[in-house]
Symmetry: D2
Subunit: 273 residues, 4 copies
Amino acid sequence: MNKPLSLIPDVQSSIDTRRLTINKVGIKALKHPLQVLNREGKAQSTVAICNMSVELAHHQKGTHMSRFIELLNADEQMLSMEAFKQLLSAMVQRLEAQRGYIEFTFPYFIRKQAPVSGVASYLDYEITLLGEINEGIPAVVLKTVIPVTSLCPCSKKISAYGAHNQRSHVTVSVRPSGPIWIEDLIELVEQQASSELFGLLKRSDEKLVTERAYENPKFVEDMVRDVAAQLNHHPHIAAYCVEAENFESIHNHSAYAIIEKDKLSPCGSVISS
Amino acid sequence: MNKPLSLIPDVQSSIDTRRLTINKVGIKALKHPLQVLNREGKAQSTVAICNMSVELAHHQKGTHMSRFIELLNADEQMLSMEAFKQLLSAMVQRLEAQRGYIEFTFPYFIRKQAPVSGVASYLDYEITLLGEINEGIPAVVLKTVIPVTSLCPCSKKISAYGAHNQRSHVTVSVRPSGPIWIEDLIELVEQQASSELFGLLKRSDEKLVTERAYENPKFVEDMVRDVAAQLNHHPHIAAYCVEAENFESIHNHSAYAIIEKDKLSPCGSVISS
Amino acid sequence: MNKPLSLIPDVQSSIDTRRLTINKVGIKALKHPLQVLNREGKAQSTVAICNMSVELAHHQKGTHMSRFIELLNADEQMLSMEAFKQLLSAMVQRLEAQRGYIEFTFPYFIRKQAPVSGVASYLDYEITLLGEINEGIPAVVLKTVIPVTSLCPCSKKISAYGAHNQRSHVTVSVRPSGPIWIEDLIELVEQQASSELFGLLKRSDEKLVTERAYENPKFVEDMVRDVAAQLNHHPHIAAYCVEAENFESIHNHSAYAIIEKDKLSPCGSVISS
Amino acid sequence: MNKPLSLIPDVQSSIDTRRLTINKVGIKALKHPLQVLNREGKAQSTVAICNMSVELAHHQKGTHMSRFIELLNADEQMLSMEAFKQLLSAMVQRLEAQRGYIEFTFPYFIRKQAPVSGVASYLDYEITLLGEINEGIPAVVLKTVIPVTSLCPCSKKISAYGAHNQRSHVTVSVRPSGPIWIEDLIELVEQQASSELFGLLKRSDEKLVTERAYENPKFVEDMVRDVAAQLNHHPHIAAYCVEAENFESIHNHSAYAIIEKDKLSPCGSVISS
């Protein structure tokens, strides 16, 4: 049982003759605790779902899965854009690969104050960092799912009173060309919604968000256009994808819209220029 | 490889000496195609998630898992209350058990007409049949998840215009004491909601459901009370549980309420009196 | 309430001035009953999750969501590759759009015979049809999730006895250039696995699949390469993507690999060349 | 918009005349950051899904949902059994209720050392704390989902070589009568599995866990019995429920077993005696 490791056969390291490069091979759906740096420079503790993979050359039988886990468990992870790029770099070195990919998805909290009473509470967002490294050049996409209220312009217009509204998810994925924080994206989106959400609302706050939503009706089409217009003007965003999904309160299905744009390349997608 | 079955050891049938009865043992999360009999006497095709289990006496090492699958695959399953009870009965016989349990969960469709235009479309509901048999006596619980619109009475009352509303799930579980159809439960619940849902609505219909919801504000507390009042008077219901969950359009969490009642036994739960 | 439709304002049809084309707008996560044509020419009933969307020109305020639902509810849907292309075509006509997209995801059953005893049972697979139409030209991708057994070559090689194995999902997405059936893809993949799965196995069958898996150890790397080699030679496949995910029995995370190839275009992806 | 709160109508506080007590009403599916005290006396940061509810007397129209959120956001939550009971108590006081219920579900990590190489990595478990308070008396149930390896005794016995094995979830819910830590329950269960899991294994470790699983074949029946035997003897456990679910590597469904016992009351369930 205590045979030295060098005497145990290493099947992964043997030669492969099928002449088929593997685009990505690695680990998926691993839960790991993380610290994330926020805009105020403080650390926020969370739990991430992690996917990590590398390209595998055609002549190699297998990758060394345990090295991905070693990298994750080497230090306490304090996640920032810079740290994420360093992890990409360390991964392809450790795995001896040309290309590598990392995805971390985690809940993230912002302490918000209710708009009238000022009472404070957390609101949760789902964040994903997607990274790719190729020949030493890292590229990162920041993806944020922002829950908001949407109120239907058609329903408001045609009805004698009321208007159907519902919770919606606006998902923004951006490839930054300059500094950008999760909080920046969230604020940008929440200003375009019929109303932003809060964990805790007193009656005076509920009155305000109800009336604000009624004053700001938006289709999914409006949401993605209004967010896209903001992202078009943002100097630190090279490419983006914005999606809106309304969990319709009058149907048992969603309304959905998406706009994608790469400012540098008309046919590019968000993840790779 | 073709050794007769009788020559292959049967580990499950050996004697167990730990003196521990197992409450339930069987199969879980099996997908299986089904036909369900609807109120019009027609068959509806669907796909169920199936759990089946039996009690295992303390002296038996294991149950025979393959027999559950054989029962399911023996015939095309045309599901009705009667057929379900017969399946419970057949299962405990085949597995030589005192007690047995079956759960089938499946999507179920009703063809609805929009309230003004009359255009027809399907709306989907999630149904679960839960059965238990003990010493030959079967008991069945019918559970239905009904998506509806809820509109907040507080938001309406305090706001100058508008009112937050959202999709809600009302879940009704009943132990029948007489004939009852899935369609009966759905109609009973939809009449108590701020509004029922539809797959397809034209503008004239959207106007109506928007105004109807505004005229019928309901908290989760109101939904469960109004449904409970109906179930209390229903002559074919011996016990029930009604839950309402609002996917709040102004928060990123749900509001939730539940009322449980066993008409025959003050401390009983829905599944067993 | 019964105002003629023409007198109710049509907000969606108004003019938009933001000059932003929307890539896709439509409905999402709608459940709908379907019939699917299988390789034997018979219909199989199932329930699909449906997404349908179209491109929206910059000058249009909104799409007409109800038309997607009308299309789905117009006829009983008997799904085949041809019918799916016709639905794409009908959708862009009805919605007056240049481009359109449809995704149907549904469980699909194959009646399999156990390898020794011959006992029959259903096994379920998850199928997705993804369609795109652009200026009248439809393109379809068929995606199939095939659950199999994988047995680890390293664990077998280094251990005195036994080898860890687990359930795996092999996901194959293909853009066909000739006739291809769901059943063809399933058989192609199952022949490359450590072993295929069955709903119902008697002891003689369990012996065979246990030994077969031990004789056929495969990493996720081997699975994607062996399936890719088959797809490379298949005359009716223009592009493909094959993924394998092992739900590792010795870890609480997955091992994962993917190979993508477009035979016609080195940089193309599966969905659009 | 800044009307004093006392001038805004309080619909929830009005009188209800339907004479129907609501068993539970409150909030559901709220995400909130937490600190959990571990056995070493250190704090572990995590993110919980929170459900909180109270009984509502028949004469009250509605509960005050915002108070649940206020309680959660009042302090940083450092979760221990004691703190959880205090929160139950504070909740029923704040909500002026007789009975109250709290459920927190969260990922929890243990730093484990691989059995031969000693390399360290995190393994994640899913924990739920369920609390109930009635007339001032709190009761708590600790629920832990422990992922393990299970290896089939039948497959091993009947096969010339190999044995199917897979990831399994063992779920243990206990009502303590004395001090008990999450770590205690996890160790108790892992010692009964075919093998425990690890995040990170080197080849020497993989050899050991493969052989250990082969030496320790267990049906779901064996798992629940062997864990139940341990829990029966544990002096700090008043009632328990143990479930095992094998995600079978030779099927596309699970095998499942459950044993429930209340040591004090033959008909009691885990949550309330």
